[in-house]
Symmetry: C2
Subunit: 441 residues, 2 copies
């Protein structure tokens, strides 16, 4: 058996603790799978004196990165502290000291991918990040290796388990948003401050990483339009169900070729938003805190990957897969071949989201008067948007309250649709600003 | 850019033609992903003069393997002729001549895995086979790389698209088996002789390969009990639906530790059979000719992989992924580390299927007389099997025909259940032999 792969783990919380435990408990199994021992040499923590889980070897604890960087036997630093400031420093100084890096930090990659990967190439070291997107779901390897022969044409992902848990509770048990969120927090899925989960930011970080692998585009978080689930009204979940759809928070990437310039750069549009999926769509069936990603490749067609999106076990599994790949020598070859976050032009540009074609769900609260539907239909027609279906239920006789009106459109350009909505919102018969979502089909 | 990877494709039918087309059409893309050109040098066919698709370069056609073996610039032979006689010869002589092998041939690996992998190790060459199981679904990489840190504890797979197409048509549109099969044939999913698809043999071959990767067991096809869908009665599909279940043809592997000998070898039982899955189970939602595999790992939990299980595009995608892995140098490292079909003991033995614990669906046609249910319940109780639910619908008054009686049991040992069934079949009130399936929960 060859020499051990020396490892330092930085951060010993939920995920770090899981990695430490697995490295010690499954030592023989991991050595067998990796062809050499995976040797844990240091655990870097902020406070060495804080109580730790019983399996954490006190003698490996340190509160400074310096001994890690100076230890020539450490070949890999596993960054599991999260955040983007200290984590960035850990990653860059580890690479500069000649260590490979394994990280689960999606925010760091989404924000500083170009710097980190450039530093890694300069140092001739490898950065692995299977755990950064979708926890235990091996979507990084799927895109980068299994589907490597394909040009990816679209990605649709449920990338935030907290939001999916909330949506499932709202749809299946009729809970209002606030109560579903409380339940997610009680189960430990949602953070004390869940805003990055429910406003779509977390999913946008992950989408930026997938878009880099699949299309070579560098999407900064602010390039990705996003809409969360925090404003989602139970009424829209019910209307969607009535129409045969389920609402899911999706991170989506859609490519488009320009028929005028078939050989020019292709556009790819990215967004995170609640989307109506047909009940029979596989992503519509994904329940609770799971993640799932549907990937469309030009040779393979559609493939789908699903599993637990967060938590100790799933994230640990992905971190260990990266460590085994480094020990075997696969990761280094993948890293060199993929040239991620480099200047290599892969022929894609980011499309402005207004150009994306979609069908739309539009829900209004309107006065129960003659001519209202006619006005709305006229505005849509002026923007060349045609109507696929309308739902308006009979209102209680003469109570004068605004009534919900739901319109599903045929395919339309997002920009046209938004212009129509703006005009519809100015109608005196429309009581509150229109609510709209795109349809996933 | 480094030297080209020289390739010979053996067989130019549906899959071979797809690989040839993609190698030529996506030459630049593949070279970019692989870091070096993938150069098609020979296409070996039985009849050089047969008409071919227009993209097939006539000058590369040959009807003999000899020029391939003699061409030092050929580094990889892609075996796509199927069957086990000529294909075995192609694979073994290619390895002996120092070529790597990529194959989509599940029957060959299931039957001759030990010989082929031993020959590859002797020749210090690599055998890749992502396309051999589940077409475009990257399950080989998932088990071998992404989940490498886990001990797999169970696998449940829909591994035969033809059968799943037929079951979907029977369940959703009420078609009888024969008509659903005809439709599958008309769509090109089923072969002219579909017996290996519908009797479970094809799925058993694929399960043998997955079990080798996950557990290190060498299961010959005859070691895997199998039951196909060719005897499935629409009545049982309807009863299953009434109980909240969907019938799927599953290939399953279940591990068991012996509580008496926790450190002894663990048992793994393999079978292919129609199984009742709860409607909410993700595998129950897989429709049409798709494949899907749920994998349970001791660290990650459950992950699921789905996609098209056969056909030109999906199989081509997986063959090309293997070629890129060989060009990048990943495949060689994976092959060396995995030591598949070797004598390396991974601590698992094949369990006799009688020992597997399961819940069972039992459907009888019984005389509509007093005491029938009492007799059956008594026999089950004698074999320590308790009943979870019973369905017997009111019979048309006095027409004297036998009536269906459905019993769902709690967990029972397969051996006990089969002994009870044998005894039940001997009751004079039981009209035809009992029909039974296991439950997937």
């Amino acid at each position: 058996m060859s020499d051990a792969l020396g490892i330092a783990v930085v951060g010993c919380g939920t995920v770090g603790g899981g990695v430490v435990e697995a490295l010690l408990r499954h030592r023989d199994r991991l050595a067998q799978r990796a062809g050499r021992p995976l040797q844990l040499r240091h655990i870097v923590v902020r406070d060495r004196h804080k109580p730790r889980e019983p399996f954490v070897p006190r003698e490996l604890l340190t509160d400074s990165l310096a001994p890690v960087l100076q230890d020539a036997a450490v070949q890999v630093v596993v960054e599991l502290i999260g955040g983007t400031t200290a984590a960035r420093e850990v990653v860059l100084s580890s690479l500069a000291a000649g260590k490979h890096v394994v990280t689960a930090n999606k925010a760091l990659l989404a924000e500083a991918g170009p710097d980190i990967f450039e530093a890694a190439r300069r140092a001739e070291r490898t950065v692995c990040f299977e755990a950064a997107v979708a926890g235990g779901v091996p979507i990084i390897r799927a895109l980068g290796e299994s589907l490597a022969a394909n040009q990816i044409t679209a990605i649709q992902g449920i990338l935030n388990g907290t939001s999916n848990y909330i949506l499932t509770a709202m749809a299946e048990r009729g809970l209002p948003y606030a109560q579903a969120l409380e339940e997610a927090q009680a189960h430990g899925y949602a953070e004390a401050d869940p805003s990055l989960d429910v406003d779509g930011s977390d999913a946008a970080h992950k989408l930026a990483i997938l878009a880099q692998i699949a299309f070579g585009v560098i999407a900064r978080p602010q390039d990705i339009t996003r809409q969360g689930i925090d404003q989602l009204h139970p009424m829209d979940i019910r209307f969607a169900q009535e129409l045969g759809y389920t609402i899911k928070l999706l991170a989506e990437a859609w490519t488009r070729s320009d028929p005028q310039h078939p050989d020019g750069p292709r556009g790819v549009a990215l967004h995170v938003a609640p989307v109506l999926l047909r009940h029979t769509d596989l992503l519509a069936q994904v329940r609770g805190a799971y993640n799932a990603i549907a990937v469309y490749g030009d040779i393979v067609g559609e493939t789908l990957y699903q599993g637990p999106g967060a938590g100790r076990g799933p994230t640990t599994s992905s971190v260990l897969a990266d460590l085994i790949d480094l020990a075997v020598g696969r990761a280094q070859r993948t890293f060199a071949a993929a040239r991620l976050w480099s200047r290599a032009d892969r022929g894609f540009v980011l499309d402005p989201p207004e150009q994306v074609q979609s069908r739309f769900y539009l829900r209004l609260l309107v006065a129960d008067k003659p001519g209202v539907l006619a006005d709305i239909a006229r505005i849509l027609a002026q923007h060349t948007i045609s109507i696929s279906s309308v739902v308006q239920h009979e209102a209680p006789e003469g109570d004068g309250e605004p009534v919900p009106l739901v319109i599903v459109t045929h395919y339309a350009t997002t920009g046209h649709f938004l212009a129509a909505v703006e005009q519809i919102n100015r109608l005196p018969t429309v009581a509150t600003p229109a609510v709209y979502y795109s349809m996933g089909d």
